[in-house]
C-alpha cells in the first residue's frame, strides 16, 4: 500500500473490519455525514449505510451505555469519542460496566467493543481538547488500552482491536493524524506487543502515541552528538509488554519514559516500577520520567511549555547518562 496518513489508515482499517464482519457498527457524534471532526470515518456512512454508521445523540454516557447493550446483543460497536476531554460523561459506564461485565458474568458474557479516542495536545485547541487520560483506564482492570503511533500500526491495530473479544480503548494521536507512513501487507506484531522502533545501545526511550515521533527525533538529534538511543513504542498500554520493555532496558541500562500526561500517577510511574522490579541489576541510573506538569492542561499559548519536547527528552537523557 502507498504511504498514507494515520487518519486514513484508521479509516481503511475500520472499512476492512466492517467488510469482514457485518456485526461491526460505528457510533459517535458527527461521524456519519461529516465523517467525524477529524474525518476518520469519512465515507463510511455513505458506503455502509445509516444502520451501521450511527450519528448518535450528543451524549457520551448514552453512546457507551447503548454500545454495551448492542454488544450484549451480539454486535461489535466501535464508538468514537469526539475528543479525549469528552470521555468523562461515559466514565461510569466504562469503569463500572464495560470493565467488569466479563468478571461479573463469570465469563459467560463478552463485550467486544472498541472505544476510539483522539488523544493529546499540540493542536492549539481550547480546553478539554488536549487531554491525556490513559492512566484512568490503564488503572482500570478489565480494559485493554492501546495507542497507535504510525499509519501501519493504525491500520492493523484498529482491525485487531475490533476483532478482540475484550473491550479495547483505542487511543489515536490526534496531532499525528496527518503524518504519513507506509502500510505493510500484514501485521508483524500482535495487539499486545511493543515495538523497538529504533535500536540503540546507550539508553532506552519508552513512549507511545504522539511522543514516539518526538522520541525518534530526539534519538536522531542525540545520534549527532554521539549518543546511541533505543526507542520503544509501547503500543499496548494495558497490559504492558514487559518482555520487550525489560529486554531493552537490560541491554541499555538506562530508561526514560516519555508521555504527555501529567507525570504524577501517570503510566510512566507504572512503567518505572516495573522496570526497577525486572531490571534492577541492569540499571545504571534511576528510571526517569518526562511528562506533562501536574497542572490542568494549559491554554494553547502555553502548551509547548507543558508538553515534553525534544529538548526536555534530551535533557533527561543527559541526566540519565551522567548519573
Amino acid at each position: 500500500m502507498a504511504a498514507t496518513t494515520i487518519a486514513r489508515s484508521i479509516n481503511a482499517g475500520l472499512r476492512a473490519a466492517m467488510e469482514r464482519d457485518p456485526k461491526v457498527l460505528l457510533m459517535g457524534e458527527d461521524i456519519g455525514k461529516l465523517g467525524g471532526v477529524f474525518r476518520v470515518t469519512e465515507g463510511l456512512q455513505k458506503d455502509f449505510g445509516e444502520d451501521r454508521v450511527l450519528d448518535t445523540p450528543l451524549a457520551e454516557a448514552g453512546i457507551v451505555g447503548t454500545a454495551i447493550g448492542l454488544a450484549l446483543r451480539g454486535y461489535r460497536p466501535v464508538v468514537e469519542i469526539q475528543f479525549d476531554g469528552f470521555i468523562y460523561p461515559a466514565f461510569d459506564h466504562i469503569t463500572s460496566q464495560v470493565a467488569k461485565m466479563r468478571a461479573r458474568s463469570l465469563s459467560t458474557v463478552t463485550l467486544p467493543m472498541v472505544i476510539r479516542i483522539p488523544v493529546g495536545g499540540g493542536i492549539g485547541a481550547v480546553e478539554h481538547h488536549s487531554e491525556s487520560n490513559e492512566a484512568y483506564f490503564t488503572h482500570t482492570a478489565g480494559l485493554r488500552v492501546v495507542c497507535c503511533s504510525n499509519a501501519d500500526d493504525a491500520f492493523w491495530m484498529i482491525q485487531e482491536a475490533v476483532a478482540t473479544d475484550d473491550p479495547v480503548l483505542f487511543y489515536e494521536p490526534k496531532r499525528r493524524y496527518w503524518d504519513k507512513g507506509e502500510v505493510g501487507d500484514a501485521p508483524d506484531l500482535s495487539l499486545g506487543q511493543a515495538r523497538v522502533v529504533r535500536p540503540g545501545t546507550q539508553a532506552t526511550l519508552l513512549a507511545y502515541g504522539p511522543m514516539v515521533k518526538t522520541c525518534l527525533q530526539a534519538a536522531e538529534a542525540a545520534a549527532a552528538a554521539g549518543q546511541d538511543l533505543e526507542v520503544v513504542d509501547l503500543r499496548s498500554l494495558s497490559p504492558l509488554d514487559v518482555d520487550t520493555i525489560a529486554g531493552s532496558v537490560r541491554r541499555t541500562g538506562h530508561a526514560i519514559v516519555v508521555h504527555e500526561a501529567p507525570t504524577a500517577g501517570g503510566l510512566g510511574a507504572e512503567i518505572a516500577a516495573t522496570i526497577q522490579q525486572e531490571c534492577f541489576y541492569s540499571l545504571e541510573a534511576p528510571v526517569l520520567r518526562v511528562g506533562g506538569y501536574d497542572v490542568p492542561y494549559p491554554p494553547a499559548k502555553l502548551e509547548e511549555e507543558f508538553l515534553p519536547d525534544l529538548d526536555r527528552v534530551l535533557d533527561a537523557v543527559d541526566r540519565s547518562l551522567a548519573y
Partner: protein, 400 residues
C-alpha cells in the same frame, strides 16, 4: 395491559380521538417552521403581532430601551464578525460565531436583572455583552492565552463551559443556593434573584441536562433553562437529538416549557422576562426554547457544506433578527436614520477595540499554569514550578 392489548387498542382508536397520540408523536417541525405554539411578537417583515400575555412587558419598554436592543444586536454582530476575521488572520485559534442568534442572546440577556446570574456555553457572546463583560475577555479564551479567566462574580456571568451541558447543573445548584439564601419570593424585584442556564439543542441529549431539569423541578429552583435551538449540533440536525419538540420536554419534568421565536428580540425579551420573574417570585423553573438558526459554521474549524444545504440557510436569511427590528423601529418612528448611522459608527469603534485589544494581548507567562491550581500551597506544584523556571533559565544561559 399486555402488549397485544395495547396494539389492539391503538389500532382500534378512531382517528378523531388519537389526536393526543398524534400530537405527541408528530415529527419535529421542519427547520422552516417553529409551529403554532411559538411566541412571536415581531414578524420577519417587522410587523408587530399582538399577544395579550406578553404585550404588557413589551409596552413597558421605552423607545430608548428598544433602540438599545438594536444597538446591542448590531454591535454584537460586529464583534462576532471581527472575531471571525481575527481567527482567519491567525490571531485566534478558533471562534464560535453567534451569527443568527443575536436576538436570542440580547433578548434574554437584557431580560436579566442586575442581581441575576447567567451560566453560558461557549457561544453566548451576546449575553456576555449585555452583562457588561468586555469582549476581550472572551477573546482570551479563543486566542489561547487563558481558559476564560474573568471573575464570574464581577458581572454575574459564569465562565464559558465547553463540556456540553455541564453548566446546567451548576446553574441549578447556584439557584438552589439563591433559594436557601432567601433571595426568592420576597416580592422585591430588585433583590429577588433568578438564574439562567444557556445550552444548545444538542446539549439536551446529555444526561447532565436531564438531571438538571429533575433537580430544578424537585427543588422548585429559581432558574430558567434557556435552550437556543439553532437546529444544528455541529453536523447533526435536531432529528438526531429529539423525536419531539424540545420545549415540550419540560412538561415531563413538571414545569412549563415555551417555544419562542429566537430571532425576535421582543418576543425573547418578554418571554424570558416573564420566566425570570416567575422564578424569582418563587414559582420555580421554566424551560424556554429559542427557535433560531446557526447561520455560520459550528466554529471556524467546521465546514457546514459537508452536511447542510444552502437553501436552508437562505430561508433563515429572511428571518434576520436585526432587519426586522430595524424595520419596525423605523416604521414606528422610534428611530431615525441618524440613530442607525450612529450605531454603525459605534460598531466600527467597537471593532477597533476588539482588534487592537486582541493584537496587543500579552502572551501568558509560563508560570501561569502553576499559579492558579490550588488555593493552599502544594509541594508538587511548587517543585515543578521551580524545575520549570530552572529549565527555562538553562536556555537563557545557553545550557541546553
Amino acid at each position: 395491559m399486555s402488549d397485544t392489548d395495547v396494539a389492539a387498542s391503538v389500532a382500534a382508536t378512531p382517528a378523531g380521538s388519537s389526536s393526543e397520540l398524534d400530537r405527541l408523536t408528530a415529527p419535529v417541525p421542519a427547520v422552516q417552521d417553529g409551529g403554532p405554539d411559538m411566541v412571536q411578537l415581531l414578524t420577519p417583515e417587522g410587523q408587530r403581532v399582538p399577544d395579550a400575555r406578553y404585550d404588557p412587558i413589551v409596552d413597558a419598554l421605552t423607545d430608548e430601551d428598544l433602540r438599545g436592543f438594536y444597538r446591542d444586536l448590531v454591535l454584537i454582530r460586529r464583534i462576532d464578525t471581527e472575531a471571525t476575521a481575527l481567527q482567519r488572520q491567525g490571531e485566534l485559534g478558533i471562534w464560535a460565531s453567534l451569527l443568527g442568534q443575536e436576538a436570542a442572546q440580547v433578548g434574554s440577556g437584557r431580560a436579566l436583572r442586575p442581581q441575576d446570574y447567567a451560566f453560558p456555553t461557549y457561544r453566548e457572546h451576546g449575553v456576555a455583552w449585555c452583562r457588561g463583560v468586555d469582549p476581550l475577555n472572551l477573546l482570551g479564551l479563543f486566542r489561547g492565552v487563558n481558559h476564560g479567566g474573568w471573575d464570574p462574580n464581577e458581572k454575574n456571568f459564569h465562565l464559558y463551559t465547553i463540556v456540553i451541558g455541564a453548566q446546567t447543573l451548576h446553574a441549578t445548584g447556584y439557584a438552589m443556593g439563591v433559594q436557601k439564601d432567601g433571595a426568592v419570593g420576597t416580592g422585591d424585584l430588585e433583590r429577588d434573584t433568578a438564574v439562567i442556564a444557556y445550552f444548545g439543542d444538542g446539549a439536551t441529549s446529555q444526561g447532565d441536562v436531564s438531571e438538571s431539569l429533575v433537580f430544578a423541578g424537585v427543588m422548585n429552583a429559581p432558574i430558567v433553562f434557556f435552550c437556543q435551538n439553532n437546529q444544528w449540533a455541529i453536523s447533526e440536525p435536531n432529528e438526531r437529538q429529539t423525536r419531539g419538540p424540545l420545549y415540550r420536554r419540560a412538561s415531563g419534568f413538571g414545569f412549563p416549557g415555551q417555544r419562542v421565536d429566537g430571532n425576535d428580540v421582543l418576543a425573547v425579551y418578554a418571554v424570558t422576562r416573564a420566566a425570570l420573574d416567575a422564578a424569582r417570585g418563587g414559582q420555580g423553573p421554566t424551560f424556554l426554547e429559542a427557535f433560531t438558526y446557526r447561520m455560520g459554521a459550528h466554529t471556524t474549524s467546521d465546514d457546514p457544506t459537508k452536511y447542510r444545504v444552502s437553501a436552508e440557510v437562505e430561508v433563515w436569511k429572511h428571518r434576520d433578527p436585526i432587519e426586522r427590528l430595524k424595520a419596525w423601529l423605523a416604521h414606528e418612528g422610534k428611530a431615525d436614520i441618524a440613530f442607525f448611522e450612529s450605531v454603525e459608527k459605534e460598531a466600527d469603534e467597537v471593532a477597533v477595540h476588539v482588534r487592537e485589544g486582541c493584537l496587543s494581548m500579552p502572551d501568558p507567562d509560563g508560570t501561569q499554569m502553576f499559579d492558579h491550581v490550588y488555593v493552599e500551597p502544594h509541594p508538587l506544584v511548587e517543585r515543578e514550578r521551580a524545575e520549570f523556571l530552572a529549565y527555562q533559565a538553562g536556555f537563557e544561559d545557553g545550557g541546553h
